[in-house]
């Protein structure tokens, strides 16, 4: 059982790391602020979700698990809203793509 959970964690966290990688590659490669923002928020959030899911079997105690989920919720919420705000201000100060 322990081994199975560990394997699950490793797989999820590696997948999360791949999404972080994808986010960074997108950030490096995409041509304008909007697409870069897209790469950043989508990929990094998926990365974080997978890391959280992967870590859930590794923590002991309900409180620690709750905190993990709360971290994820917070980041989701704020990054969804903040990326909107950033995109808006980008549109305001630059020419439209």
């Amino acid at each position: 059982m322990r081994l199975l959970l560990d394997v699950f964690s490793v797989v999820a966290i590696v997948a999360g790391a791949v999404f972080y990688l994808a986010g960074t590659v997108g950030l490096l490669r995409f041509p304008d602020a909007y697409t870069r923002l897209h790469a950043l928020t989508k990929a990094d959030n998926l990365g974080l979700v997978l890391v959280v899911i992967g870590l859930l079997p590794q923590v002991n105690g309900v409180l620690a698990g709750l905190k993990l989920v709360l971290v994820w919720l917070l980041v989701m919420l704020s990054s969804a809203a903040v990326s909107q705000l950033i995109a808006r201000s980008a549109r305001r100060q630059e020419t439209r793509p």
Partner: protein
């Protein structure tokens, strides 16, 4: 397992670092505003991994605080950082 988590954390920090290098090049201010956000999701992920690696669940509290305050910093970016150079139509665009 701890070693794996540590290296995963290091990898995430590395990704954040590369992303920051790109963000630092700009060109617009919007790119720079992504920095706080990038560090928000990246450092939070790294903190969770480091915390689970050391088994110290209080690190999760740091991640919580960082998630909250990096959102705050991002908002301050958007709110304050546009000033000075251009006059704005003062309200948000219609949603």
């Amino acid at each position: 397992m701890a070693d794996f988590l540590q290296s995963a954390g290091a990898f995430v920090v590395l990704m954040v670092a590369l992303g920051l290098v790109r963000v630092a090049r700009g060109p617009g201010r919007a790119d720079r505003m992504m920095a706080a956000q990038l560090l928000g999701s990246g450092a939070v992920g790294a903190l969770l991994l480091f915390g689970a690696a050391s088994g110290e669940s209080a690190v999760f509290d740091v991640a919580l605080t960082l998630a909250l305050l990096s959102a705050f910093a991002s908002i301050a970016f958007v709110k304050f950082a546009l000033r000075q150079d251009q006059p704005l139509d003062d309200e948000e665009d219609a949603t």
